[in-house]
Each structure stands twice: as C-alpha cells, then as structure tokens.
C-alpha cells in the first residue's frame, strides 16, 4: 500500500485526475486480494492492477475512463465466463466487484489522504483499517482507525493494512543500500544502523525510514521483536558478534549475515564459544541470500531480498544448504 501511494505521488507529475478502482468483492476466486487497486489516469497512464492483467483489468480501465468523464463513483461488477477464466488461469468463471471513483491529484483528495494516513499508521508498527462507506449516490466516505473494525453491511468495505515489518539493516555498505531500496518496495520499514557516519547517510539511503548512527548493538536492540528481519551487511565482526549474540536469542523472524562460508563458519564457532546453542546458531542465515550466482552489490542485495520473501512465505528454498 505504502509503495503504491509513493508511485501515485510520482503519477501526480503527469496526471491531474485518476479513476481509482478498488477490488471490494470476488466470487469464484481472485488472483489479487480484496483491496487491490488500479489507477486509470485521465491522460491514459495506468498504475497497479486488480487482477493479473488480462481482460479484467482492461474492462476496469474502460469503466474507469467512463466514470472519469461522468465524474462520479460507481460500484461495478465484471464477469469472466468459463472460457475466459481458463485463459486467466482461474479454475472457472468468476465475478469481481469494484468500487471505481474519480480522484483528484491536485491538492488533497480525501481518499488519498485516508490511505496515506493508514500507511503512516502501518509504518509506525500498528495495523490500520480503512473503512469505506459506499453511497448509492455521491462519493464514498472513508475513515481510518487503528482499532479492528468489522464490516457492518454490504455498503461498508473494510481494508486491513497490516503493521509494516521491519528490516534492521546493520552496515551502510553498497549491498545495504541496494537492499534498502528493494525492501522499501516490498513494504518493509527500513532501519539502517552503522557506527560510521560516512556510510549511514541520507544520500546513500534515500528511502530508509530511519538512519541511526552510534553503537550498533545498542541501536539495534529495541528492534529485536517478532516480525523483524535482522540483516548484517557491514562485513565487520566488531558489529556482527555483539548483535548476533542477542538477535539469535530474540524472537525476530530472520537473522542473516553477509559472509563467505569460511568466515560464516568462523563466526559461528565464536558464537558457540560464547555459549549460544546449536539451535540458536542454526537460525543464522550465512552465507546470506539465495544462491543465484550474482557478485555485484545490487545482485547480492536481490538475492537477500529474495530470501526474505521466501522466509515470509515459508518456502523451503529460504534455507540455503
């Protein structure tokens, strides 16, 4: 959601009005979750999707263009018959309900403000709920809350924006810079930590949510919580050891360290001497990343990002042999 809103801000440079289509219901299966969005610009530009391309999005685009001209919101149902469903990769025919509404990109629009507010709540570590009341006539009304909210009828659509998970990135290296960019796009809250001011800079980490310079083990400790991904890319044992001693015993979701196999084995041996158990040490992903063979910083960053996705999705490939 946050990433889509950032892209929407970029779209503002070229478009003044867009139709925002939100997937609010699906029968017969849907490749995208409810709440998925497709923006149709008055100038023809498209952003996002409510299906995986194909004829569903095309029909939504047509409706969007029409409703932009008519300057009104409408609930629309797009039907896919069995033959079309096979082409779309669905098991059988399906119906998709969409709320399509004109949005102004000039100044503040209540809908965009609502989603920005929800994204900010999510980035602060809390889940957010965007409650949309769909009127028979006129624009939909929205409210945003951090309290769980249940839909109270067919004219109320509730979107749950989960709390953003945090990437704790220790080491302002080039690999770290690439990973920060990728992970921001994956919806993670990115916290960059280093002991060196020259590396952890806003120039190098333009999209990071936080940049912290100081004693890395002290700065990282408050983030050792459930759902955190701790990634050490400084290639500095002075930072790696103190952080690993704590992170591997914390309920974080992932701990990875940039290292060749020899260095990784040496660090694991030191951790064993320090009293960490084999189970705790086995949580460490090092060498880090999926083995896709890249050597450049951006390639290594991509392999790490891919591993984070695999961990999030519980895929066996996440654990490198």
């Amino acid at each position: 959601m946050a990433d889509l809103l950032e892209q929407l801000a970029a779209l503002r440079e070229h478009e003044t009005r867009v139709a925002m289509a939100t997937l609010i219901g699906a029968r017969g299966g849907s490749p995208r979750p409810l709440g998925a969005k497709l923006f149709v610009g008055e100038g023809g530009r498209l952003l996002g999707s409510v299906s995986i391309g194909g004829c569903v999005d095309s029909r939504v685009v047509e409706h969007g263009e029409r409703l932009l001209k008519e300057n009104r919101a409408q609930r629309v149902t797009v039907t896919v018959d069995d033959a079309e469903a096979v082409e779309l990769g669905l098991a059988c025919g399906a119906e998709f309900d969409l709320l399509i509404e004109p949005i102004s990109l000039n100044g503040t629009d209540p809908a965009i403000e609502a989603y920005l507010s929800a994204a900010n709540i999510s980035r602060s570590g809390k889940e957010a709920f965007v409650v949309t009341r769909i009127a028979a006539k006129g624009a939909p009304a929205r409210m945003v809350t951090s309290q769980p909210f249940e839909a109270t009828g067919p004219d109320v659509f509730v979107e749950r924006i989960p709390a953003a998970e945090t990437l704790v990135l220790v080491g302002g290296s080039d690999v770290g810079a690439g990973l920060a960019r990728l992970c921001r796009g994956l919806g993670l809250r990115v916290v960059v930590i280093d002991g060196r001011e020259r590396y952890a800079t806003r120039d190098r980490f333009a999209t990071a949510d936080e940049i912290l310079v100081g004693m890395p083990s002290d700065l990282a400790r408050p983030y050792f919580k459930e759902g955190a991904y701790v990634v050490l890319v400084g290639h500095e044992y002075k930072y790696d050891l103190p952080i690993l001693r704590e992170a591997l015993r914390a309920p974080v979701r992932y701990v990875g360290m940039l290292a060749g196999r020899k260095r990784a084995d040496a660090v694991k041996a030191l951790l064993r001497e320090d009293g960490l158990t084999d189970d705790e040490i086995a949580r460490l992903h090092s060498p880090i990343g999926l083995d896709i063979g890249g050597r450049e910083p951006e390639e290594i960053a991509l392999s790490i990002a891919a591993q984070l996705i695999a961990v999030r999705e519980g895929k066996p490939i996440a654990k490198r042999g």
Binding site: D194, G195, M215, S217, D218
Partner: protein, 122 residues
Amino acid sequence: MTLPYGAVVLEHFRRPRNQRSLERPSAAHEAFNPMCGDRVRVEVELQAGKIVAAAFTANACAICTASASLLTERVAGMAATEATAIPESAMIVALETEVPKAREACATLPLTALREALRAGS
C-alpha cells in the same frame, strides 16, 4: 576466525573484563573512530577523586576491545588524575603484541574515552 595477535589480546577480546554498564556511573564517554567504525563507551564511578569502578561497552575490533578490558582493570582504585596521565604508549605495551602503526588508534581509543569521561566528571 584466526586473529594474528598475541595471547593477551586474544584473552581480553574473547573474555573481556568489565564489559558491562555500571548501575550508577559518575561519568561516561563514547569515543569512536570514524574511519574503521570502532566504538567504545567507558563508564566510571568516582568517589573523592578516585575511580572505584570502571566498565565499558564496545562494538570494536579485537585490539580495541582488549585495550578497553586491560584499561578498566588497571584504573580501578586509581586516582582520576593518575588515570588521565596514562600515556598512549602504555596501552600499546600492555597488549604485548605487535600493533601495526595503522592500528595504534584502535589501542588508544578506550584511553581517549576514559580521559573524556574523567574530564566531564571532574
């Protein structure tokens, strides 16, 4: 990880003395080397001009960590003025290993932190 240092450095790096935070420090200072990224925070508890306890926290290399360990052992019970006067060369000698010129700053960083802490606490 094979570290090319003598027994004293290895002993104090792997089993550092006084690596903790003091409950009631009279003074503290965190020093860092902007080039290599070593960071060491030294805390002291002072009573009547005397160091009754010294401790440190470090995210630092083996030389710097060992130096901080040796220093905090050495200054416990010492007058603050006496501790401030410890020369840099003494820290390098105490490590009982050949410290390359480029790494001397690692060995003396804890002493810098201690001096700054004592200056602030005086």
